[in-house]
């Protein structure tokens, strides 16, 4: 059996979800490694877009931040941020975007702004950055975050970026949000997907499995050795489980070699 860390499994699971994609909006940390791994494995044509104004980056080192100079050297294009947001993002050119969050609810709405009251916050978080508009315009949104009860909440304290809103069918389209919204949440214990926006998901089995609400997050796959009960213990709402629940495929030797030798040789992000 191959030894791997939870972060390595998060990276490989995220990278595999990019199979066949062409344009991805990348964040720093785990998403960055996942996108670079995907480029070397399942999505060789993948172009990496960074909100700092970079299209088609080929980072020669692990970027230290979202604005690392290694993202510039060798990129296809570096443009003003107004171009990036107006033409690349709002123009509908982004297929997939990775986001993280301090809080997420069952419809994939996220909070990265405050814990507690906005005016008197218990914890002041970073705020939106580009997340608010990314969640509107990217064709699909993927999340990478650790599974924790304080993060997977019934009610987020502030909606920084809207996902599937309140779970009413057709709500995103009615507001004029072009992207399909949240599709995937990769965590250190399990993978979640979202029901198709609509009154009922077509994948519901006739065996009495729970019907999903429109755009509702459900448990799609548990990591090796993790039980559904352990996952539910870290989720604040009664979680629905896919009738065809699977066990996440562990990383391959080649994926681990790429992560450990090429993408994160110092183990900065993948060690834990």
């Amino acid at each position: 059996m191959i030894d791997y860390t939870p972060s390595e499994l998060m990276i490989t699971s995220s990278a595999r979800a990019l199979a066949g994609e062409h344009v991805v909006f990348v964040g720093v940390g785990l998403p960055n490694i996942a996108c670079n791994l995907a480029q070397r494995t399942v999505a060789p044509d993948l172009e990496l877009v960074y909100e700092a104004g970079v299209y088609g980056a080929r980072p020669a080192r692990l970027p230290l931040s979202i604005g690392d100079p290694t993202l510039v050297s060798g990129a296809i294009s570096v443009c003003p941020m107004s171009d990036l947001f107006m033409y690349y993002l709002q123009g509908g050119r982004i297929e997939v975007a990775f986001l993280g969050a301090a809080q997420i609810d069952r419809f994939g709405n996220i909070n990265t702004t405050v814990i507690g009251d906005y005016r008197q916050p218990k914890v002041r978080l970073p705020g939106s950055g580009g997340a608010c508009e990314i969640s509107i315009h990217a064709q699909k949104v993927f999340f990478i975050m650790r599974l924790k009860k304080r993060a997977f909440v019934e009610q987020i304290d502030f909606c920084t970026s809207a996902g599937h809103l309140s779970g009413k069918p057709g709500e995103r389209a009615a507001l004029g949000m072009p992207g399909a919204g949240p599709q995937l949440v990769v965590t250190d214990k399990a993978i979640f997907r979202f029901a198709e926006p609509g009154p009922m998901d077509s994948r519901v089995s006739p065996s009495g499995a729970p019907e999903y609400l429109s755009g509702e997050m459900y448990l799609s796959s548990v990591h090796p050795g993790v039980t559904v009960q352990e996952v539910q213990a870290e989720v604040s709402w009664p979680l629905k489980v896919a009738p065809d629940l699977t066990v996440t495929e562990p990383p391959t030797t080649e994926e681990l070699r790429l992560i450990r030798e090429e993408l994160d040789p110092g183990g900065t992000y993948a060690r834990e």
């Binding site: 720093v28 940390g29 909100e51 700092a52 104004g53 970079v54 970027p63 230290l64 931040s65 979202i66 604005g67 690392d68 100079p69 993202l71 510039v72 050297s73 060798g74 570096v78 443009c79 003003p80 941020m81 107004s82 947001f85 107006m86 993002l89 709002q90 709405n109 702004t113 906005y118 005016r119 916050p121 218990k122 914890v123 002041r124 978080l125 970073p126 705020g127 939106s128 950055g129 580009g130 997340a131 608010c132 508009e133 509107i136 315009h137 502030f158 909606c159 920084t160 970026s161 809207a162 809103l165 709500e171 995103r172 507001l175 004029g176 949000m177 072009p178």
Partner: protein, 306 residues
């Protein structure tokens, strides 16, 4: 337009109560200017910046700011901004009013400011809570019957301070790497201070006009301050000093340690030359450590048409 020292530029152009924008998205962050503002004791500033970064953490810790306009708060790639958090959560060293946007929202405010538009439309904020806490974010119906769009008002700072690789003595400024909002802010601001790594001949600028981001037309003061963006970076000149970004995470957690750092590295030196001297004494090999390798662009032919 005048070439002047940082001390003169700040004394002439930055006043108490001003709205200032020291921009640069992770790159070209002019710490040299911020330190001079702290030394000259400016107060009640409104600080505009997409990513307040360490530079506004320091200005806020030094008590220079009354308000901040921003779109992402963080020590990039490291963690939170402890001084900003102390100000917002506990009112230390004083209360700090915040006005918050998404990146696209703040970019759009600068674009509107640069273009003298009364507002700028963007498809953002749908279903989100920002408009509930920031009344400047509004929604209007499209006059062409295509649903609603968010709008934000122009942002015209009193002063913009922008770092770049090079300019000529007339302030014609060339920048390559992450362009951020440097051009938009320069056009939006009432007064512009440009700070460069190198002053070059006008002929160098004219040999590559596509690379000129800020024309001298907009520039009120030009300051030649090599390494003026340390600990951030200037593409092709020096890398980000990540040791410092990590060190600041430790120092800034405690108010006393933050004050001691400001005493040593800002108040304790007379100018940027003093800062660099101290930095080089602390780590003699610093510029070797931060030197990037070479990646030259291919020359192009603009042609002569006489």
């Amino acid at each position: 337009m005048k070439v002047m020292s940082m001390r003169e530029a700040i004394a002439d152009h930055v006043r108490d109560g001003d709205t200032i924008a020291i921009e640069g998205f992770t790159a070209f962050i002019c710490f040299a200017a911020a330190h001079e503002i702290i030394r000259q004791g400016r107060r009640d500033l409104t600080l505009c910046r997409m990513t307040p970064d360490l530079i506004y953490d320091q200005l806020i810790a030094a008590g220079c700011a009354r308000k901040m306009i921003f779109s992402y708060l963080g020590n990039p790639g490291v963690g939170p901004l402890h001084c900003v958090r102390r100000a917002v959560e506990k009112g230390i060293p004083g209360p700090l009013e915040v006005e918050e946007y998404s990146h696209f929202g703040l970019v759009s405010r600068y674009v509107a400011g640069a273009a003298h538009l009364p507002f700028f439309p963007l498809r953002s904020y749908l279903g989100a809570d920002q408009p509930k806490v920031n009344p400047r974010i509004q929604f209007v119906p499209s006059p062409y019957g295509d649903g609603i769009v968010a709008v934000v008002p122009p942002l015209n700072p009193d002063v913009a301070i922008l770092h770049a690789q090079r300019a000529d003595v007339s302030g014609n400024t060339q920048l390559w790497g992450l362009l951020g909002v440097q051009k938009e802010v320069a056009f939006a601001a009432q007064r512009v201070i440009v700070v460069v790594e190198e002053i070059v001949d006008e002929s160098t600028i004219r040999s590559d006009p596509n690379r000129t981001v800020i024309p001298g037309l907009l520039v009120d003061a030009l300051v030649h301050e090599p390494y003026g963006a340390h600990p951030s970076y200037a593409q092709g000149y020096y890398d980000r000093d990540n040791h410092f970004y990590l060190e600041w995470d430790r120092v800034s957690r405690e108010e006393a340690a933050t004050r001691a750092w400001l005493d040593a590295w800002v108040y304790g030196v007379t100018d940027r030359a003093g800062y660099l001297e101290k930095l080089e004494a602390q780590e003699p090999g610093i510029w070797t450590r931060l030197a990037p390798g070479e990646a030259l662009s291919q020359p192009i032919n603009y042609g002569t048409y006489s």
